[in-house]
């Protein structure tokens, strides 16, 4: 049995139970008069059924080589993904506090890590200022202006 299928289906099974339980709070109603909880409840059952089906199906499938089951290509890849996610979360938290241009500049400093520092600073500047001109001035997209007004 594939470990990735087992993990994902157990998680989805738990989610489906929560969906069904949550739906009961919105009145499931009856066949004559379906209510707000009817559709999500039915979907919860469908998700649970398919999750169980996949678990049963994978039990009968031939074993797959461990190499083929590997979810991650290596620790550096995993670290890079977490790094990008942390950078994005930090961007979201800082955006309305310090404004679009500065936050974008800082974001690019993090995302371009690994290149020469002059290159990184140069591109971060071009990206933050250039995108501000393109989106806010040329395309009139509303961007957050921080304490420096940019």
């Amino acid at each position: 049995m594939r470990a990735d299928d087992r993990i994902s289906c157990i998680v989805l099974l738990i989610l489906s139970i929560l969906i069904c339980f949550g739906s009961t709070k919105y009145h499931i109603g009856s066949f004559n008069k379906p209510d707000a909880g009817t559709f999500p409840f039915v979907l919860g059952i469908v998700i649970a059924s398919f999750s169980i089906l996949i678990l049963i199906k994978t039990k009968f499938e031939k074993g797959v080589a461990e190499e083929e089951q590997k979810l991650w290509s290596g620790t550096p890849g995993k670290t890079k993904v977490l790094y990008i996610l942390l950078a994005l979360v930090a961007y979201g938290l800082l955006l309305e506090r310090i404004g679009y241009t500065i936050t974008t500049f800082i974001l690019f400093l993090f995302l371009l890590k690994g290149h020469k520092w002059k290159f990184v600073i140069g591109w971060a500047l071009i990206a933050s200022v250039g995108s501000y001109i393109l989106f806010h001035i040329a395309l009139h997209v509303d961007l957050v202006q921080g304490f420096l007004g940019i």
Partner: protein
């Protein structure tokens, strides 16, 4: 009909719409060439910006991106042996071999010209079929709409490359996500956890950008794909007389296959390329040439993918039902502009309907003119390291999602769905059925609830109406066929 087409051209040939068509075709070719970003993520990123332009212009630009990506995807398939798009996977087989044999030019040329011929011929089908289908759909009631969405989801899941059950599971999950927010019938907020932002539902923009923009970036960064670009000079782009003789019927057959498979919900453009290749190889007098640089192996699939891409507009324009994730994004774009897609689109918004069809003619011409002379430029673009490209993709996603409602919550929703998109790919689930389920959820739920009210709570209402019964039985048959095939495969 002629009047309608002329009206469409009057919409498509305005300087503004010509400009958007050109931008769409250019961007489409660009992202088709660049691996790691596709038409769905590009459209998702640009979706919020389209709020500042008329809806007809937005759809014209997005249509250009979609079929432009089909043209561009073949370039990387032929030169790098990595498909720029899923619809160009098959082109790698013979296209790259032609490049290694010193015939990269004719491969690229026949690919562009075949796509142009297929695209132009398919448009006749789009023009002549869409209105009758839309008129027929005006007879649909709630049971028919429920049955149609059920059928669409079973076909999409049935054509999934990984697993039918996993695709159905994703479709159900997408439908549940689509049900989050205020229930129209009872004004009850569902699964909002007290967050007022979610009362209007989870926005399609952060979901699409998360799943396809951020999600793809995370996967590409984690897997670190390297490109080995074909380095010899590309000469003689125009195919020879011999190339034409070998390719002409492959182009025509590819067009027909792509057209009929493209209409079906479920990634018709992708399936049509495989079908076209299989047909060409089967009927060829020299099948041993395939896999070693047979030009029909490029001409047929490339024609099929363009025909399939354009034919997929028929259910979208006529019924408001997406046949793949791209048309789901197009429907989402119409919805954020306050336009209800469906059979009434032809009469309520003729500028969008006929303008988009007319723009496809123009777009096909633009794409041939862009692709052939600019091949050198596209090759240079392939050399941009992904480590420089992905920060720009992320920036576009962030700006795009924030610009919709100026809310930080939308950014966090996008990041959340970015993680979901990443995990989907790692655990071998496909995002396309999820997106289909998301878009079809309100149609399906309304159809379901209204049908039960109409039928006094009896499920038989779905089977006592002819069209509804036909669609439900067809959908169940698709699932049954897949179940039988799986059992047989396991038996071996």
């Amino acid at each position: 009909m002629i009047d309608h087409i002329l009206y469409g051209f009057s919409v498509a040939l305005t300087p503004a719409n010509l400009f958007y068509c050109l931008i769409g075709a250019f961007l489409g070719t660009l992202i088709g060439v660049l691996p790691g970003i596709g038409p769905i993520s590009t459209m998702s990123i640009l979706m919020p910006i389209t709020l500042y332009i008329p809806p007809a212009s937005a759809i014209i630009m997005f249509a250009g991106i979609f079929y432009g990506a089909q043209y561009g995807g073949s370039t990387t398939s032929i030169l790098v042996n990595i498909p720029g798009e899923a619809t160009s996977v098959v082109t790698c087989i013979d296209g790259y071999k032609m490049a290694l044999n010193g015939r990269a030019g004719p491969a690229l040329g026949i690919s562009a010209i075949g796509s142009f011929i297929a695209g132009t011929l398919t448009l006749f089908g789009v023009m002549f079929l869409t209105v009758p289908i839309a008129n027929f759909a005006l007879r649909f009631g709630p049971p028919e709409y429920f049955a149609l969405t059920f059928f669409a989801l079973t076909i999409v899941s049935g054509l999934a490359t990984e697993s039918t059950i996993k695709a159905l599971l994703m479709a159900a999950l997408g439908m549940w996500t689509g049900s989050i927010g205020m229930d129209i019938g009872s004004a009850t907020p569902r699964f909002t956890f007290g967050m007022k932002t979610l009362n209007d539902g989870v926005g399609i923009v952060p979901i699409m950008m998360g799943l396809y923009g951020i999600g793809e970036v995370l996967v590409n960064v984690e897997e670190k794909v390297e490109l080995d670009i074909f380095k010899a000079k590309i000469e003689k782009i125009w195919p020879s007389v011999q190339d034409w003789i070998q390719s002409r019927w492959a182009i025509l057959r590819g067009t027909i296959v792509g057209f009929f498979l493209g209409i079906l919900p479920g990634g018709g453009a992708i399936i049509s390329t495989f079908a076209s290749y299989a047909i060409e190889k089967t009927i060829s007098k020299h099948p041993e040439r395939f896999g070693h640089g047979a030009i029909e192996g490029v001409a047929g699939p490339e024609s099929a993918n363009n025909a399939g891409a354009e034919a997929s507009f028929i259910p979208m324009l006529a019924l408001g039902i997406p046949s793949n994730a791209v048309t789901a994004v197009l429907i989402g774009t119409l919805m954020i502009h306050g336009i209800q897609p469906g059979p009434l689109l032809v009469s309520n918004n003729p500028d969008i309907f006929w303008g988009v069809i007319a723009s496809m003619y123009i777009g096909n011409v633009i794409l041939v003119l862009l692709n052939l002379p600019l091949i050198g430029l596209w090759v240079q673009l392939l050399k941009i390291p992904y480590s420089l490209l992905f920060p720009a993709i992320i920036l576009f996603c962030l700006v795009g999602v924030y610009s919709v409602s100026s809310s930080i919550v939308e950014i966090f929703i996008m990041i959340f769905f970015g993680v979901i998109g990443f995990l989907m790919r790692k655990f071998r689930f496909e995002p396309a059925p999820f997106v289909m389920g998301l878009v079809l959820s309100p149609i399906m739920e309304n159809g379901f609830r209204q049908s039960l009210v109409l039928g006094d709570g009896k499920i038989s209402i779905f089977f006592t109406r002819t069209i509804s019964a036909f669609l439900i039985i067809a959908g169940l048959s698709v699932l049954a066929v897949h179940a039988i095939l799986w059992i047989r495969k396991r038996g071996k």
